[in-house]
Amino acid sequence: MGRLRALMSIGLWPLLLAVLVAGCAAPATNTGGSSGGETGGPEPAQGPPSGPASGSIPVGVIVSVTGAASTLGKPERDTLLMVAEEINAAGGIGGKKLELFVYDDESDPTKAVLALKKLLNEHKVVTVIGGTTSTSSLAMIPEIERAQVPFLSLASDMRIATPVKKWVFKVAQGDDLVVPKLLAYLQKRGIRNVAWMNSANDYGEGGKREFEAQAKRYGITAVGFATFKADDKSMVPQLTNLRAKRPEALLVYTTVPSGAIVAQNARQLGYDIPILQSNGIANKAFIEQAKEAAEGVIFTAGKLLVADQLPDSDPQKPILLAYRQAFEAKYNDPANTFGGHAWDAIQMLVAALKAGATEPAAIRDYLERNIQQFVGVTGVFTFTPEDHNGLKEDALVLIEVRNGAWKLLEP
């Protein structure tokens, strides 16, 4: 009896909440426009940023310095700080200093959204750079669009800039450029049956999605698929399984260290077919870890790794060498393509600011109209109202690991 009463009294509370919410919902959630202040959402940042920003230009940065994507996020942050320092040392822009507000999202999209709200409301930033991971970038987009502040995303997922969103620009090469480059290479070699492996995270899946969409066009069929977790210690099980399906080549879409483990495991199992990987392994740690197993691995990446092997006619060559030299001198760490994305993003912003576009709307318009043949580390960008990524496949090259070094396969 007592228990029944207890249960009833417990059950009462959700009912009470339902009534309460039903009662409150009406006045408090009106978005009809008449009571705009009631909604509490961030006000669209109209006009120049007010308050503390008078002597400086506040720019928001949200990158994954810690967590699963830290290999990408840390060089991104370091690059942004380096460029801001350079610019401020040279007197800033129009007498104003570039002030970066940097937040670490710990590779967690929830934290990215929280940080974004802080950047928009507390620091009144004029532009946001960041979103190291595709998930963080995608999670931030609704708030960005609502707040109407330009966002330069550093992540690769195609959905960030397709379909085009008014305030969102993407500076990383998407999987929609990387995968076709690999497929074209296979086609040229006359390879038809391949095995596909990817890490079970947003990066690996982005590649797989693109592969499944495009393989047929290049006459390529997958004889087997496998996934692994980025922190797995051994991919022998997956590779053992795939080998039984007799592929003519192995495609791997992941980052380091797992990309190196795959290469080592494949060598251990005696794989003698070509191994192709993606821009995720474009990191010297791949060669160091995979050692002999890295030999002969072919992958697609930006030109940074092989900048000195590029022909002098390549418009990106001077920029690439300058970035690499500056980064390596300052941090004593090899520069990588992810930091390069950050370099491009902040240089585009600086170009807009120098042209006198200092408000969010003006910056956005400048980016869309005036980033034409913009030579960056990632590639040569041309933004249009229909294209907020603006890269062509000439931003990518094929690289082979040979004698423990990167070798440009074709310019």
Binding site: S70, T71, K233, S234, P237, N241, Q268, G270, E288, K291
Partner: protein, 293 residues
């Protein structure tokens, strides 16, 4: 490659991973039995060992020096964690102490990131050379090392607990804290030393795995979790059972991933292990209640 070779290959691969889990799990069980603390910073000690070893080897030190130093550093870090975090909280609830070890793990992870950066560090294999071929399947020399070191450590453990006076005293302490005190054994001293040993064995795990997987600052969390699971499968109070639990976990994972589904391999292996726990609710073979080391 026929089906038999494939299964053999998968089992050998599982053995490799299992040996790594085993070294972490043994540290878990040791610390748990002597101090009653589930130390979730265990994997972090392994990460410290792996990073130290790899960093030193990249500076050109001889391999054995790297290994020894890595183990020592991991042991020292574990000792520091015991003194700074576990010892002051010895009167707290067990759950609070577990959370303290997790907090310590976070701090260690951040420190490792500061010192070693985000890129994975590489380390040479202990023995260079082609993989060993067994009936068409292959196994890395490094796996042999992991297994041998695992067995050696285990033998040392057995010798210590069964043959030496101190070892017997420690077992006495585990069985009856009060009685042990009467014989002049201070539980706090014991707690310190068991962390040193637990840290050392985790450091060893780290430095053994580094050549296979590289060393990253965030490799610890996953090792802690797998080590914990392996230790629980073994019954948490028996180091031998923890080793068997770890190898079982590695082999089941490998077979499920290779034969059934690469994505759902871990789901299947977990379901199997849980089902097994339900059949034998107190671990693989704890016939009798009560703790053993």
């Amino acid at each position: 490659m026929d089906a038999g070779t494939m299964v053999l290959q998968l089992m050998l691969s599982g053995l490799t991973v299992g040996a790594i889990y085993a070294l972490v799990a043994v540290g878990f069980v040791l610390i748990y039995n002597v101090t009653g603390v589930l130390n979730f910073a265990q994997g972090e000690f392994a990460a410290v060992g792996a990073l130290t070893g790899a960093w030193l080897s990249m500076r050109g030190l001889p391999l054995w020096v790297c290994v020894v130093l890595a183990v020592l550093v991991a042991a020292a870090v574990a000792a520091g964690v015991e003194r700074a975090v576990v010892h002051p909280a010895r009167q707290s609830r067990p759950m609070t102490v577990i959370m303290l070890t997790i907090g310590a793990g976070m701090a260690l992870r951040g420190a490792a990131l500061l010192v070693f950066g985000t890129d994975p560090l590489a380390m040479p294999m202990f023995t260079e050379g082609e993989p060993i071929s067994i009936g068409g399947a292959t196994i890395l020399w490094q796996t042999v090392w992991a297994l041998v070191l695992c067995l050696l450590f285990f033998a040392a453990l057995v010798f210590f607990f069964e043959k030496t006076y101190t070892g017997k005293a420690v077992r006495a302490n585990v069985m009856n804290r009060f009685a042990a005190r009467l014989y002049g054994i201070r539980p706090t001293t014991l707690s310190f030393w068991v962390f040193v040993v637990g840290g050392a064995v985790s450091g060893l795990a780290g430095v053994v795995v580094a050549p296979i997987t590289g060393a990253t600052y965030d490799m610890g969390l996953m090792l802690s979790m797998k080590g914990f699971v392996a230790a629980v499968i073994g019954g948490l109070n028996n180091a031998a059972a923890a080793v068997v639990g770890a190898v079982l976990l590695g082999v089941v994972e490998s077979l499920a991933t290779g034969l059934l589904s690469s994505g759902y391999g871990d789901v299947i292996s977990f379901a199997l292990l849980l089902a097994m726990l339900l059949v034998r609710p107190s671990g693989l073979w704890s016939r009798a209640e009560g703790k053993r080391v």
